[in-house]
């Protein structure tokens, strides 16, 4: 096993997609995320790692304002997508979420047909003018999610009837169908078996060519396998952020080192 093999780190891109400055998140009185500054690069896979409850998922959900749906949640600070503060009053979270797609921990296809699952996003955003265009988007999205060959003959069967790994790839297809600029993935493989995990990881690497991908993961091996940049969160703090190779081989912070070597977490 070369689990700790670290993907080639040719981070030649320097354009920032998302810049976060001084982000604070409170759940009621609980200060869940403390003063996080991160620059997320375009067309790069960025992994957030850290022990449970460290705030990595919370931060991910700030990036498409999914935290808005939680009443007790309050976000301070500044998160800019292409230089525009997404917490600005004039930003519509509905539009934002079309630009910043999300894949969840548990595969959650709608209890509708495979076709309708993928077509839903383009439909509500009015991205197509006719059925032919919609068909094209659905096929393209399913191909991008590397599931087209498995489902092309049964687009009308329910998405919930697929296997776990297929369901997750269907969810990825659904997320990419709106042509987002950033794809957020919240532990996308934690409910999958190793083979399905491998397929999804391969897919993430391909998706990097088109999107900026941010992935939250429990598994350090996975972070090492798929990401170019890694951020380590601990107790609501962003402890260390850097190139994946450097984080895993030469961590600067003692807490990062403890986590990587399995002493905390």
């Amino acid at each position: 096993m070369n689990d700790m093999r670290i993907v080639e780190r040719d981070v030649d891109i320097t354009k920032n997609k998302i810049t976060a400055r001084g982000v604070q998140v409170y759940y009621g009185t609980n200060h869940a995320l403390k003063d996080v500054d991160v620059d997320i690069l375009d067309k790069t896979v960025t992994a957030f790692i850290g022990p449970s409850g460290c705030g990595k998922s919370t931060f991910l959900r700030c990036l498409n304002r999914m935290n808005d749906t939680i009443d007790s949640c309050r976000v301070d600070g500044e998160i800019k997508l292409d230089g525009e503060n997404i917490y600005d009053r004039k930003i519509d979270p509905v539009q934002l979420r079309a630009k910043v797609g999300m894949v969840f921990q548990k595969p959650n296809p709608f209890p509708k047909s495979i076709y309708d699952n993928v077509a839903y996003g383009p439909k509500i955003h009015g991205l197509t003018r006719n059925k032919a265009e919609l068909d094209e988007i659905v096929e393209k999205s399913l191909r991008r999610a590397a599931i087209w060959n498995e489902v092309k003959d049964r687009l009308d069967s329910p998405g919930t009837g697929l296997s776990g790994g297929q369901q997750q790839r269907l969810c990825i297809a659904r997320a990419v169908a709106t042509n987002p600029q950033v794809l957020l993935m919240d532990e996308p493989c934690s409910a999958l078996d190793p083979i399905a995990t491998a397929q999804v990881e391969e897919l993430i690497d391909e998706l990097r060519e088109q999107f900026s991908v941010v992935i939250v993961t429990h598994s350090m091996q996975q972070a090492a396998r798929v990401s170019q940049k890694t951020a380590f969160f601990h107790l609501g703090n962003l402890v260390e952020y850097g190139e994946t190779g450097q984080i895993f081989t030469n961590p600067q912070d003692p807490r990062t080192e403890s986590y990587i070597t399995g002493r905390i977490g």
Binding site: Q95, N108, F110, P111, I124, H125
Partner: protein
């Protein structure tokens, strides 16, 4: 943890064996109690149904007498068919049917036939005046005491002065039986007639139509309002003190005795708004007040049961809150909502007290033509019949209860069917 090695000895010790025995015994007791409870419930159900069926089945048949009515031109004038002496026609027919009996006696025996016979004849002749001079053969219902006699509910051994029918009356009826004029067909009048003073003519049509209109009104009001309120409370309302108070009050409303809703309807709908008394429309509005909390609670529970992952999926794709609710959550919650609604409506169907207060227990002999006509409803009809002194209404009350129970079972079956059909698994 020192005695791990002698675990086996522990399991077989007297203390452990007694402990296991005690646990088994308490399980047996629990099972026995459960079985007992179910048996008692079934016994009660059996008693209820058997008592209803044993008295009610008589009402599903009705004694009829076949008579030949000679429409003589002396009794019914051709220029005024509506004003003819049809009572005389009926008496003539009875005299003819009882040969050997003195004419004055036989004339009195016209009371064997239901009062409706003369009106049926009149309607026939008015519709077709050419019948005057002809003889019409009709199967007319027997009046209530003779119906009871033929069904064996009047004991011939009872001393004459304690009996509803005296000996000559029984003799006359027996003569008709021997002549083969008496039959006991299925009593369709129970469904096709509206209420009547005479048990042999009384039917449930008015009550059925009234209940239908009332339930329709109730459904049309409480379903959209209830779902709307539930969606707002569950999906959009801010979680604060005010929405907590609203929620508590809705739960309390579901527990308010129905008679209170009747008083409210009487005060507001009838006295303040001046709406029509006894109308199924007002009855439906009153029942909607009662059904609303049930529907709101059922809908909220159904909405809550939709997995949050579906909401997140739709939100994450950029669906608005409204799109999430109407395109994903509501369709998935529909089976639960429908089940709750049907159960609420079934409750409303059986509800009596509020309808009594708005006057739906009036004596009304015609089925309502619209929701705004005065009418009764099934439960209030049962109430009226149960109050009536005639013997024939005893079995009709039970029959009406059976009809009501039939509709309730049907509605619950529909609820179960819908739930199973549309239920989705995740």
């Amino acid at each position: 943890m020192a005695d791990i090695s002698n675990n086996d000895a522990q399991w077989s010790s007297a203390h452990a064996v007694a402990n296991v025995k005690r646990r088994h015994r308490s399980e047996m007791i629990l099972k026995g109690l459960g079985l007992g409870a179910i048996s008692i419930a079934f016994l009660m159900l059996f008693l209820l149904l058997s008592s209803l069926v044993s008295t009610g089945y008589q009402a599903f048949t009705q004694t009829h007498v076949q008579m030949e009515f000679a429409i003589s031109p002396e009794r019914v004038k051709a220029d005024n068919p509506a004003g003819g002496n049809y009572r005389g026609v009926v008496q003539d027919a009875m005299i003819a049917a009882l040969p050997g009996m003195p004419e004055a006696e036989a004339r009195k025996m016209a009371s064997i036939l239901s009062n409706s016979a003369q009106f049926t004849l009149r309607d026939r002749v008015v519709a077709d005046p050419s019948l005057i001079g002809d003889t019409i053969t009709l199967n007319v219902p027997a009046s209530d005491p003779y119906d009871q006699l033929y069904k064996g509910l009047i004991d011939r051994e009872t001393p004459e002065q304690n009996r509803r029918l005296n000996d000559p009356e029984i003799a006359a009826f027996d003569q008709l039986v021997e002549a083969g004029r008496i039959s006991k067909p299925i009593n369709w009048a129970l469904i096709t007639n509206a209420d009547s003073r005479f048990p042999e003519l009384a039917g449930l049509r008015g009550a059925l139509v009234g209940s239908f209109y009332a339930l329709l009104t109730c459904f049309l009001l409480s379903f959209p309002i209830g779902i709307g309120a539930a969606i707002y409370l569950e999906e959009f309302a801010p979680k604060n003190k005010i929405s907590d108070i609203i929620e508590i009050n809705i739960n309390n409303l579901a527990a308010v005795p129905s008679v209170v809703f009747g008083l409210l309807a009487l005060a507001v709908f009838l006295n303040l708004f001046g709406l029509q008394r006894s109308a199924p429309f007002v009855g439906g509005m009153t029942l909607a007040l009662m059904t609303l909390p049930t529907i709101i609670i059922a809908t909220r529970a159904a909405l809550k049961a939709v997995p949050p992952s579906i909401r997140e999926a739709a939100l994450g794709l950029g669906a608005s809150r409204q799109q999430v609710v109407f395109q994903h959550v509501l369709p998935l919650a529909m089976p639960g909502i429908l089940t709750g609604t049907i159960i609420g409506l079934a409750q409303a169907l059986g509800e009596t007290a509020p309808l009594l207060l708005i006057g739906m227990n009036a004596f009304i002999t015609a089925a309502p033509g619209s929701p705004f006509d005065a009418s009764t409803a099934l439960p209030t009809q049962i109430f009226i019949w149960a109050d009536s002194p005639e013997r024939g209404f005893v079995s009709r009350t039970s029959a009406a209860i059976l009809v009501l129970l039939g509709f309730l079972v049907l509605m619950n079956a529909i609820a179960i069917f819908l739930r199973n059909k549309f239920e989705r698994r995740w």
